[in-house]
């Protein structure tokens, strides 16, 4: 596996590029370090940044992206991509909101309904990619359009207002368990459970195997198509959870809800160090990437830049993250070949 190969070549001490190895291996730590430094700078300019209220608001919003990013990371680790995340979230959000408005379900039923829809949508993606053998980018660009179209078809011009939801439903966003907002709790649970399964189960390791070398994985008898199918299904499931969280957080839902989330989710995954060529990266990295983006958005508003800057900065963050990854990888490979020739 790529990550194991990289770390093995780095154990040579006093290497000039050793610090790069540290950065490469500890993407999560580097992200936290960048956030701490930036946080210190921002809080000098805008003291309200470091208040409990502000930080928990950032964390709550980032949790929605983080949950979806965990699903996306699973897909990207298998060397695929899912561009339909925002459409899945939007469709789930509208179905949940409208079913609550019409009293079809109680709150728990509606939540299950939404997560179930997400799972089915994810399985549709998985089916198109693994059974119909359409490349992931084409398949999910198509379903991005199809799911959004279905959303419009179902919703029409109807908008579910916050008052249409049962009283108390939207409070969950701000309730907390032991001082931690419930949303953050959900994101942490998703990351921990996902990471444990990915790291310590055979099926989890197969995600990395399929992503880092599909041919070798096939020769080893790994059921690649099943793994990819499950990755897409889980991505849908996560988008479903994120869609439900979106309803709880924002309350007012229509056919265009959750637009633009795909970009944030993919950015979070790329920034979080999940290699776009598959086979590397962690779910915690993807979640931290989401937190990083949320943090930047918040900092921008606090230092008084208009929200119009946000889109451009997301773009820059993606470009910088992939460029840094490629640079580090190239330096490491050069160092490794030097070591071998020594």
């Amino acid at each position: 596996m790529t990550d194991a190969g990289v770390t093995a070549t780095l154990d040579v001490p006093r290497d000039r590029s050793a610090w790069l190895g540290v950065v490469a291996r500890q993407r999560e730590l580097s992200l936290v370090a960048i956030m701490v430094v930036l946080g210190a700078l921002v809080s000098i300019a805008a003291p309200q940044f470091l208040t409990v209220d502000n930080i928990s608001q950032v964390a709550v919003l980032a949790s929605i992206v983080a949950v979806a990013a965990v699903g996306e990371a699973l897909v990207v680790i298998t060397r695929n991509v899912d561009l339909s995340v925002e459409a899945m979230m939007g469709l789930v959000a509208y179905c949940v909101a409208v079913s609550l408005e019409n009293h079809m379900f109680g709150a728990p039923g509606a939540i299950l309904f939404g997560v179930g829809i997400g799972l089915v949508l994810g399985m549709i993606n998985g089916f198109i990619v693994t059974i119909l053998r359409v490349p992931a980018i084409v398949a999910t660009l198509g379903t991005l359009s199809i799911f959004r179209g279905v959303d419009y078809l179902v919703a029409g011009s109807h908008q579910v207002p916050r008052s249409g939801l049962p009283p108390g439903f939207t409070d969950a966003a701000h309730n907390d368990i032991f001082g931690i907002p419930i949303f953050v709790f959900i994101a942490v649970v998703v990351v921990v459970v996902g990471s444990v399964l990915l790291r310590w189960t055979t099926f989890g390791r197969q995600f990395y195997a399929v992503g880092s070398n599909p041919e070798a994985a096939a020769i080893l008898g790994i059921p690649s198509r099943l793994v990819v199918f499950v990755a897409f299904a889980l991505c849908g499931l996560m988008a479903g959870i994120a869609g439900v969280m979106y309803v709880i957080e924002f309350g007012t839902i229509n056919g265009t809800s959750a637009g633009g989330y795909t970009l944030q989710v993919v950015a979070a995954v790329v920034v979080g160090g999940v290699g776009i060529f598959g086979g590397t990266g962690t779910l915690a990295g993807a979640a931290l990437g989401a937190l990083f983006l949320g943090f930047i958005a918040n900092a921008l508003i606090l230092i008084g830049l208009s929200q119009f800057w946000l889109q451009a900065i997301y773009g820059l963050v993606i470009l910088v993250a992939v460029s840094a990854d490629a640079y580090i990888l190239r330096r490491l490979q050069r160092a490794a070949s030097l070591n071998r020739s020594r």
């Binding site: 991509v81 198109i128 119909l132 053998r133 359409v134 490349p135 980018i137 084409v138 398949a139 660009l141 198509g142 379903t143 991005l144 359009s145 199809i146 959004r148 179209g149 279905v150 419009y152 078809l153 056919g255 970009l263 993919v266 950015a267 790329v270 776009i276 060529f277 208009s306 119009f308 800057w309 946000l310 889109q311 451009a312 900065i313 997301y314 773009g315 820059l316 993606i318 470009l319 992939v322 460029s323 490629a326 190239r330």
Partner: protein, 350 residues
């Protein structure tokens, strides 16, 4: 494939012509036109033709360089944002009192620079074009938002709106369609009749082999991205002119249609094959389909379902056709290859 040629050459070439993707598109186009005509008596009028084609011309124009990029094995998702950035800059400069000619020149330079950024990151930086152009998709749109903000600029001079809105004198043919055909002709000749085109196919089929046979892969790829950026900027100018409004969100969602048109045109998403005539036919198919759906009262939002299905189906059909064909070949095959399909050298040896 060549093994199947032999006693059945006549019949085979006929079936091969039928099985060509372009032929299928032509049939689909005719079927759609007949259906559309059944839907509304206005469908076949030239005025309606002008309308149906004009609404798709920005997409069609951007699909042409996208064809070359995808054949070369890359993709550019940022075209819609470059069109939006182009529209925003045009409006901003015009509102600031800059003459239209200068503003258009600036916009085209920005298109070249944006394409250059994509090209350098992909070809020199060795980064995946999917991620790079997803990044610039956000970056260019963000710049458009920063430049123009939420406002719209719409007091353009009549001479300018003629570019996108006007027709060739005496006909119902919109000017953008003329621009599209001219571009299609130029790029078609470049792709199918010049060494540049052969290099593009070579890169898409096997980048390593192309490099070893002396193709300057990075340079060709950068050139393709620059061309795409430039033409996306042109599309932005046409869009602004056709709607006579400049907005920061102009062109949002167009990339999907552009990629759909290119893949429907028979271009392989993994690179190496595809033709400009195929893409031109695909443009007509999509234009006729959208118009038929509109006449049938399907809203624009819901039409995205048809578009998404079309995108997926246009990849599924060739895949399964290929599988079916190789299955048939396996059954039919087994007999020795006819004499003239054996290369000369081998025959001389035996």
């Amino acid at each position: 494939m060549s093994a199947a040629v032999g006693p059945f050459t006549e019949g085979r070439s006929w079936t091969r012509l039928l099985a060509r993707w372009e032929t299928l598109l032509l049939v689909a186009l005719l079927v759609l036109i007949v259906l559309g005509n059944a839907l509304s008596p206005f469908f076949l009028t030239s005025g309606n033709f002008g309308n149906l084609i004009a609404a798709l011309m920005e997409v069609a124009i951007m699909a042409l360089p996208m064809t070359l990029i995808i054949i070369a094995g890359e993709i550019d998702l940022s075209v819609e944002s470059m069109a939006g950035l182009s529209s925003a800059i045009l409006g901003f400069l015009w509102a600031a009192g800059v003459p239209m000619e200068v503003a258009i020149a600036v916009v085209l330079v920005v298109g070249v620079l944006g394409g250059l950024l994509n090209g350098l990151l992909v070809a020199r930086g060795g980064l995946p074009s999917l991620v790079v152009t997803l990044g610039t998709l956000a970056l260019f749109r963000g710049l458009a938002l920063i430049i123009l903000g939420p406002r719209g600029v719409s007091d353009f001079p009549p001479g300018f709106t003629e570019i996108g809105f006007g027709h060739v004198p005496g006909t119902d043919i919109p000017w953008p369609f003329v621009i599209f055909l001219a571009l299609a002709l130029i790029l078609g000749v470049v792709l199918h009749r010049s060494w540049v085109g052969r290099q593009v196919y070579a890169i898409g089929k096997n980048t390593g082999a192309a490099r070893f046979s002396g193709v300057r892969v990075a340079r060709v790829k950068i050139g393709l991205f620059v061309l795409t950026g430039l033409i996306a900027a042109v599309a932005g100018v046409i869009l602004t002119s056709r709607l006579s409004t400049s907005r920061a969100d102009a062109g949002q969602g167009m990339t999907l249609t552009v990629v759909t048109v290119v893949l429907l045109g028979g271009v392989n998403i993994f690179g190496g094959s595809g033709t400009i005539p195929g893409v031109v036919l695909a443009v007509l198919v999509v234009a006729v389909m959208q118009n038929a759906l509109r006449l049938a009262g399907v809203s624009v939002d819901v039409q995205s379902i048809a578009l998404g299905l079309l995108l997926i189906v246009s990849v599924v059909i060739p895949t399964f056709a290929h599988q079916a064909k190789s299955a048939v070949d396996r059954v039919v095959g087994g007999r020795p290859p006819p004499a003239d399909s054996v290369p000369r050298g081998e025959r001389a040896l035996s």
